[in-house]
């Protein structure tokens, strides 16, 4: 099995059992979607076994975190995260006396925490405390009232944790935010999108492939069509592709002109930003602290959606000529392929 790394860069908190569970889960995604018939999406292992001394090429596909599908005010987009925040980025706002004090963004997928949940309640608490030091979640908060975490099988715990994420106060904004929860922001959706868009098409442009793959791609979003067009361009260029390890969506940077007390700063530079913008967890999490005098493009920071307009994220794809891939990874052999050993 491919030694998938911890997407948060925490080495699974040195817990090998968690690492095994997570890797099994991830391998399942790669295996399922690499077997999509006629899709150029393939196993990650294949890109390490290219013939002719070829090396894979990394392509970063970026997009803005602002949910352009939302027909709502910025305040409502902030408030109704599970309805509107659909660009593989979600955020929590904190206020004091009506003023915004902090915005926490996350791109972490729930599968990571599911792996801890599968192992046990205490392991899950450790993972949550690694994100939010001082967190003291209860079983009821994480799994719902009446759930017996101790007696439940690992899969049951993982599923219940996932199912309860919108009510989990350490995730739903009440006490914190842990991971992506909006219905479209799933790892399965990300894999499905790339696999579907990697089927070479003879009609339409790469840009509108998103509209041709059914529910796999949301054409009105920023992220989906960007990823889809990249995949389609790749396969039209006879490339096979896969999601790079560590899999997921990373926070890239904040755009715009930022000032603190009228002095322009590079908000992305920790040496200049006075701690107002802190990225962590392998760029899967970031916190903007709004002190008096912080402005973006000349305006005071009032909402998280305002920041989301400026927040760039990306997913990284590896690509290589289909002909250089091992035979078991090439387009057309999916259903009969033995897959990676």
């Amino acid at each position: 099995m491919f030694p998938y790394s911890d997407p948060a860069g925490r080495n699974f908190l040195d817990n090998n059992a968690v690492a095994d569970i997570f890797r099994q889960q991830l391998q399942g995604f790669y295996d399922t979607f690499a077997r999509r018939v006629n899709s150029g999406f393939t196993w990650l292992e294949a890109l390490d076994q290219l013939s002719g001394g070829q090396a894979s090429q990394e392509v970063s596909v970026g997009w803005s975190s602002f949910p352009i599908t939302a027909q709502a005010t910025d305040a409502l987009i902030d408030r109704d995260r599970f309805e509107y925040q659909d660009e593989y980025v979600e955020w929590r706002t904190e206020t004091n006396q009506g003023g915004l004090t902090q915005v926490t963004f996350t791109t972490e997928f729930p599968e990571y925490f599911e792996a801890f949940a599968a192992l046990g309640f205490n392991d899950l608490v450790n993972a949550i405390q690694d994100v939010m030091p001082g967190a003291n979640p209860t079983v009821a908060e994480l799994f719902g009232r009446g759930f017996n975490a101790a007696s439940s099988p690992p899969l049951g715990r993982a599923r219940m944790f996932r199912a309860h994420l919108q009510e989990n106060p350490w995730n739903n904004g009440e006490k914190g935010i842990l991971c992506l929860t909006q219905r479209f922001n799933t790892l399965n959706a990300l894999f499905n999108l790339l696999a579907a868009c990697s089927v070479r098409r003879t009609q339409g442009t790469p840009e509108n492939t998103c509209s041709l793959v059914g529910d796999a791609c949301g054409p009105a979003r920023s992220s989906d069509p960007a990823l889809c067009a990249t995949a389609q361009r790749s396969v039209r260029g006879n490339l096979g592709l896969s999601l790079r390890d560590p899999t997921g969506v990373r926070i890239v940077k904040l755009d715009g002109v930022w000032r603190i007390n009228n002095s322009t700063i590079d908000i992305n530079d920790p040496a200049q930003n006075q701690g107002s913008w802190v990225m962590s967890r392998n760029a899967r999490r970031a916190v903007l602290t709004i002190e008096a005098g912080l402005t973006v493009d000349g305006s005071p920071v009032r909402t998280g959606a305002q920041i989301a307009r400026k927040l760039q994220v990306a997913a990284d794809v590896l690509a290589a000529p289909d002909a250089a891939l091992p035979e078991w990874a090439r387009v057309g052999v999916e259903s009969s392929s033995r897959g990676p050993e």
């Binding site: 392509v59 997009w63 009609q203 790469p206 509108n208 990249t230 260029g237 305002q306």
Partner: protein, 593 residues
């Protein structure tokens, strides 16, 4: 340093001589009064900017010392102050930002989708980081052309720099005008000061011919940035210019050093231009407020009121089409003349942009432009149902006999149409946020001819009722004006406009009478919300529930509006200049347009 340099230039000006070179702080005076007296004298490029050129067809003239002393933007300070003899692109870039990783290259062309190795593309070069004490992000940009092999070493370059102290853009050009040998010479080509007040005749042959408000231009500012190299969300990627792409037929330019910094239109929009526009508008708005003294803060009366001195100038964009952007569907037409037959998929959907129907940027606010606006989000509902198929779009192109590049066809992204310019919408929004205009006043104006967000004769004729000077109560910083209860007694602008309409005593049913009714209604914001909903429902009914014939008729009505807006842009004495293709390639037009 800057002050002593200015003083030195002033001394030379008094002596009627020119500074032609300053090397390591030591001035070398090479030319005297002779050059001032001989018309048509050709100037070799010196290390200090010497020349201005007011119009394309006019001879370059010497800058006076006072004019030079009035240039303080980073482009001047880093290059033209003492390195104006740098005319090769690489040298120019090194002078502005020696760190190549802080350079950004953006590409636009009406031929962007044409991958064949032919023709030219336009590049915009932007910078971030700092150099020589100058912050570069949003303060300097260059524009120049390149061909399949990349940038010629001796490119003509257009440039602008933002002078933060004076609150203006300065425009420069490097070309061979005025040189008998064809050598390239930098010239100052004008500033953005009072650009909005210029007549079409005054703009002719100047940078302000296109820079209507004085600000930089990105015509296709918003997604999907039709004509730009982009990539986000299904926008177009010019992979033939990307050295990292898998396209086997890349232009050789893609592998040249400047293209290592190839960037995408979304970055130019969000990271560079929107902040730039907002800053420009803050300067514009502040300059129109009454002040304690020339450089002081805006004056405030004991009652907490501030005074607008140029109300008619400020609000002109709300009533008249002073600046436009070009918006399109986020979906492709499939029938671009440079595309392939396989691009066309009859059943694929095309979403009509909401801003085609109304000024949703100001009515709804939010969106990618991030304006505050009136927060009437039902204005965005059009984007949930106003759609047609590629086949329906093709039928409309046929029916209206539209030509692009001389043949039947459509832009890469369909439904390409002028919309109110963001730079002007933002100015109005800043006026709203400051309290210069109330939500009530804004809603009343936007209700007028609601269905014509741009080029409205109805609104245009009503600007005359806006006074130049009026007082207003500023909104406290951080407070959203739409959350404040309406205070009619302190809505002094609305009162003044109603008073002026009353004095004109318009007949019932006229536009002025309608405007007065809107202004005197108890709550024009709620009136607007209801009007929008009626409008939304009517269009939705016609498209979704009126049967095939009704739907076809409605699409034809809407497309007629689109074609008419294109025609109005092409006929507009100023805005027509934004089409640099002589009506051939920017947008599909009827042969008679």
């Amino acid at each position: 340093m800057r002050a002593s340099w200015r003083k030195f230039v002033a001394l030379l000006d008094q002596s009627r001589v020119r500074v032609t070179g300053i090397i390591r702080g030591r001035a070398i005076v090479l030319a005297g009064i002779f050059v001032l007296l001989v018309p048509g004298f050709a100037y070799a490029q010196s290390s200090t900017l010497q020349l201005k050129q007011t119009r394309n067809e006019s001879q370059p003239q010497l800058l006076t010392a006072a004019e030079i002393a009035n240039l303080g933007d980073p482009f001047f300070n880093l290059l033209l102050k003492d390195k104006a003899d740098k005319v090769m692109l690489a040298d120019v870039l090194d002078a502005i930002q020696p760190n190549a990783s802080n350079r950004h290259l953006f590409v636009v062309s009406e031929r962007i989708v044409q991958k064949a190795r032919m023709g030219f593309r336009r590049a915009v070069l932007a910078f971030d980081g700092a150099n020589g004490g100058e912050t570069l992000k949003g303060n300097v940009m260059l524009s120049l052309s390149f061909g399949p092999d990349g940038f010629p070493e001796d490119s003509e370059i257009e440039a602008w720099g933002w002078d933060d102290q004076r609150g203006r853009y300065n425009y420069y050009k490097l070309d061979s005008a005025g040189s008998p040998t064809g050598a390239m010479i930098w010239k100052f080509r004008g500033s953005s000061e009072k650009a909005d007040l210029q007549t079409p005749a005054e703009r002719a042959g100047t940078c302000l011919r296109c820079h209507v408000a004085g600000a930089p231009i990105m015509k296709e500012l918003f997604f999907p940035w039709n004509n730009w190299h982009a990539g986000v969300g299904g926008s177009f990627v010019a992979d033939y210019l990307d050295g990292n792409s898998s396209n086997p037929n890349k232009w050789p330019a893609a592998n040249t050093p400047p293209f290592e910094r190839l960037s995408t239109a979304d970055k130019l929009e969000t990271d560079f231009l929107i902040p730039t526009f907002k800053r420009f508008n803050r300067a514009r708005l502040n300059a129109m407020l009454k002040r304690e003294d020339a450089n002081g803060t805006p004056s405030s009366s004991t009652a907490g009121r501030m005074t607008m001195l140029e109300g008619s100038r400020l609000l002109k964009p709300l009533f008249q089409a002073t600046e436009i952007n070009l918006i399109s569907s986020r979906n492709t037409s499939g029938i671009h003349p440079f595309g392939s037959a396989a691009d066309f998929v009859p059943t694929l959907g095309i979403q009509i942009p909401a801003s085609f129907f109304l000024n949703n940027h100001l009515i709804a606010g939010g969106g990618t432009g991030g304006l505050g606006g009136l927060k009437l989000t039902n204005a965005n509902e059009f984007s949930t149902f106003a759609k047609l198929s590629q086949q329906e779009n093709k039928d409309l192109v046929e029916k209206f006999k539209l030509l692009l590049n001389g043949v039947r066809g459509d832009t890469h992204f369909a439904w390409f149409v002028p919309e109110p310019g963001f730079v002007e919408n933002d100015l109005i929004d800043q006026a709203l946020q400051l309290g210069v205009i109330t939500p009530h006043f804004l809603a009343a104006v936007l209700s007028l001819d609601l269905e014509a967000p741009v080029f409205s004769d109805t609104r245009a004729e009503l600007l005359k009722f806006v006074p130049d000077q009026f007082e207003f109560i500023p909104v406290a910083p951080g407070v959203d004006p739409v959350t404040l209860p309406r205070d009619a007694t302190n809505d002094l602008l609305t009162q003044a406009v109603v008073s002026r309409i009353n004095q004109a005593d318009p007949a019932p049913g006229t536009n002025a009478d309608e405007f007065r009714k809107l202004l005197t209604s108890p709550d024009s914001v709620d009136d607007l919300r209801k009007r929008v909903q009626v409008y939304v429902n009517r269009v939705k009914e016609a498209l979704d529930s009126a049967g095939p014939d009704g739907r076809k008729a409605e699409l034809e009505r809407l497309y007629g509006l689109l074609v008419e807006r294109r025609r109005l842009m092409q006929m507009h004495p100023v805005l027509q200049n934004l089409d640099e293709t002589n009506g051939q390639l920017l947008m599909p037009l009827r042969a008679e347009d």
